[in-house]
């Protein structure tokens, strides 16, 4: 707590600011939905008041961040393998996009293969059977035993 003051890359400050923006949004939504009166509370009643509470809380977080130094944004990701995390997220988004288009099996088998090979590569002799076997097993259990329909995609496979 020796050095205090406003540092622009203070992660806590950023957190507080984002929360403040969210609370303003909630407040505005509550207002536009109509908060009604105390004896006939409307649809936005709860959101309006909650927005106020959140605004107060987020300002308190931001104030604390200014008073006592928080970690910088950069330091949070320093020395981590954030690239790998990004790969997983990107793969996952592509997967969700392909899920209904290609069907469960045609999208899940490549997903497994990518995940097994791209992060901490698993030997091919393990990766291939696993990425084929696991989705097929799941497919069989869901589709056959539990009768839960999985998407078949444009090729009607799965």
């Amino acid at each position: 707590m020796k050095s205090s003051g406003l540092r622009i890359n203070n992660a806590e400050l950023w957190g507080g600011t984002i929360w403040f923006a969210i609370s303003l949004f909630v407040l505005e939504q509550g207002r536009s939905l109509g908060h009604g009166t105390v004896n006939q509370p409307g649809m936005g009643f709860m959101m309006f008041w909650l927005g106020l509470v959140m605004a107060g809380l987020s300002l308190a977080v931001a104030l604390q961040a200014i008073k006592s130094e928080g970690p910088s944004v950069r330091s949070l990701w320093a020395g981590t393998r954030w690239q790998k995390t990004l790969i997983v997220i990107a793969t996952f988004v592509v997967y969700a996009y392909a899920f209904t288009r290609l069907g469960f099996l045609l999208s899940t088998i490549p997903l497994m293969l990518v995940l097994l090979r791209a992060i901490d590569p698993v030997r091919w002799t393990v990766a291939i059977p696993l990425s084929l076997g696991a989705p097929l097993l799941v497919w069989w259990v869901l589709q056959r035993l539990l009768q839960i329909q999985l998407p078949t995609g444009m090729f009607e496979i799965g």
């Binding site: 609370s23 004896n39 006939q40 649809m43 709860m46 959101m47 949070l76 997220i89 393990v126 839960i148």
Partner: protein, 503 residues
Amino acid sequence: MDLLGQVAHGFAVALTPVNLLYCFIGVFIGTLVGVLPGIGPISAMSLLLPVTLSGTPESGIIMMAGIYYGSMYGGSTTSILVNIPGEATSVVTCIDGHEMAKQGRAGPALGIAAFGSFIAGTLAVVGLMVIAPYLARFAVAFGPAEMFSLMILGLVIVTFLTQGSMLKSLLMASAGVVLGLIGLDSISAQPRLTFDRIELYDGIGLVPVVMGLFGVAEVLTNIEQGIKRTVSSTKITNLLPNKEDWKRSSGPIGRGTVLGFFLGIIPGGGAVIAAFASYALEKRISKTPEQFGKGAIEGVAGPEAANNAAAGGAFIPLLTLGIPPNVVMALLLGAFVIHNIQPGPLLMVQRPDLFWGVITSMYIGNVMLLVLNLPLIGMWVQLLRLPYNILFPMILLFTVVGVFASSNNVFDLYVMIAFGILGYLARKLGYEAAPLVLAFVLGAIMENKLRTALIISAGDLTTFFTKPISAVCLSVAAIMLLMPVIPALRRKREKVALEDGQN
């Protein structure tokens, strides 16, 4: 007929071979669906409802009840092993349970969860037999004002679940409430925060939120930090809780049982609150509160006991008043109805064989569950020996399947990914997910009750303070909010005293 006679009569019904078989099928399916995420007791019971028609009402209802409390056992497994809570009640188990697993103590965590559930489940059945008729009034004592105050208390308790700053947990809890309000308003049927996306009219599903915030976020964090810090490399010690574990867990199990049983009686949200109220209580009275969140076995034993006792308590409003306190009880009601039996105040008088048969079958079911679950622990722990680069794609596959199976909608897959990223960022900045999830579950109920309570009181806000139950809940909440301030003061005083002593 006195109580003992009735119990004996009940056992005579429950111990017939056919009922034993149904009971076993019930708890077996329950354990299975408890472990599988996205496929909760609700879908299993719905699917099996027609099967109950073939047998007597007793067997059918015994089986349905078995699925319910069986799934309560199974629900903790994925929470502990891979940080994926199967349902809202096991969110709390994740906090210390998964931490224990990371330290190589998955066995004791699973073990205490099973034993704690067994003890709580059995005691709750005793409670159900002895005091059920007297508690009917308690179930309806919670009107809108009381429910609202209880939910407020619940949300305040939620913030105790976390290690970090209370401000941050309160923010997460508020966000959870807002997320819970998405969808068609429960009073006027008009859309809120749906941004004209018809997928949002239903509201956001609990399963994708939980899978994202817990399962996916955990994977993302682990990948970023490299696999060294994960469970696979740590040595797995013993499989069952040792003497020390038992010593530390017995108190939490006892208190969790009482808390769970009573909160479970209250319709709507009681069971969820029970689990985390138990956690907060244990953390509060513990001599080593700093261990909570870092693998304290009390944090598994208490909530697990509470949620199983709550499952017992939940039978009270159904059996005594015909009012089902949650969706699962509603399905059970369906089973009664199909057999042309109306659960309610007259059930005990008109169909004592059924009433006592079902209750005593729960004793037997609990024993079966213990026998069934203990050998499984070894198998589950083996799973953790898999290297993380093989395990994590399996976990992700598991979440995808869970999300899709629960809603059959690819939109939920995107919701899960979004919440996975949010959860990952929140962890980075020191915001914890548990308050958000629990507030998400309670938010919509709370809002509805607030509005109803204000209509009843004609806008008089003092209604929340003049009704005794409501006043008690709010006072406890206020004390809890002020508590972080008080220890700070006390610590200062102690410090001063210490320095004085040294002089």
